[in-house]
């Protein structure tokens, strides 16, 4: 049976924290990409975390449906990347991490790039988020770089981790 799901690279944030995680030189040999994330923000309160492709800061949009523990809703927006989650942070229970999976189909094709993401935060309190995101990058370039960062410029905490998988259709 052919191997259709392959771990390309993984990274864990060290003791000093990091402002972002960047995957570079992504091969175009796969059909789709999947990114699995376990992240926490060093400061703040449920900050928005964001993904950007190829270092380009334009033509992103997102639509998110969420539950917050006390309400449900949806919102949309445009930024210099795609917002896909509200992460655990300093204001949430210590040593808890949000987790998320982002799926990027046809990342190396010549059409606009879409993604879907499902994410949850952990918190020993009423407020904790579950989010489903539809994201669009209106750009036809093949994705070869992925950057993960907080929209408000915060740092990722130690032990935050990210693994990029390549998926083939045969």
């Amino acid at each position: 049976m052919a191997t259709t799901y392959e771990a390309i690279a993984t990274v864990t944030v060290g003791s000093g924290g990091a402002s972002e995680i960047e995957f570079t030189s992504i091969s175009s040999a796969y059909t789709d990409l999947s990114l699995k994330l376990s992240t926490r923000c060093a400061t703040d309160d449920f900050p928005n975390i964001r993904i950007r492709f190829n270092g380009v800061t334009t033509s992103y949009s997102h639509r998110i449906v969420y539950g917050s523990g006390s309400a449900a809703g949806s919102y949309s927006g445009t930024n210099n990347g795609i917002d896909y989650a509200s992460d655990d942070a300093a204001a949430q229970t210590a040593n808890t991490f949000s987790n998320c999976e982002i799926y990027i189909p046809n990342y190396a094709g010549s059409t606009n790039k879409s993604l879907s993401a499902d994410a949850v935060s952990e918190n020993n309190a009423t407020a904790a988020y579950a989010l489903l995101t539809a994201g669009l990058w209106s750009n036809t370039a093949a994705i070869n770089t992925i950057r993960i960062y907080y929209g408000g410029g915060q740092n990722l905490s130690q032990y935050s981790s990210a693994t990029l998988y390549g998926i083939k259709n045969s």
């Binding site: 690279a9 944030v13 570079t24 030189s25």
Partner: protein, 71 residues
């Protein structure tokens, strides 16, 4: 100096690199924009809550009773 983790997917090598001046400036601009968006969001939520409470007061209900009625 803030740093980023860069993973070269062709080799698996991970490097911790200091941000460039341009990246730092972008980060600061992002932080400013996020703070402004948060303030606007909070102001909008407060205005919405005040509107709800004004309607509830006209009806002789508390805001919580109005929420239950509409829920």
């Amino acid at each position: 100096m803030p740093t980023k983790l860069v993973v070269d997917c062709s080799t698996g090598a991970v490097e911790e690199i200091e941000l460039t001046a341009e990246e730092i400036a972008q980060r600061e601009a992002d932080a400013e924009a996020a703070a402004q968006a948060k303030a606007e969001e909070e102001a909008a939520a407060a205005a919405k809550q005040a509107e709800k409470e004004a309607i509830a007061a006209k009806l002789g209900l508390t805001a919580e009773e109005l929420v239950k009625l509409l829920g």
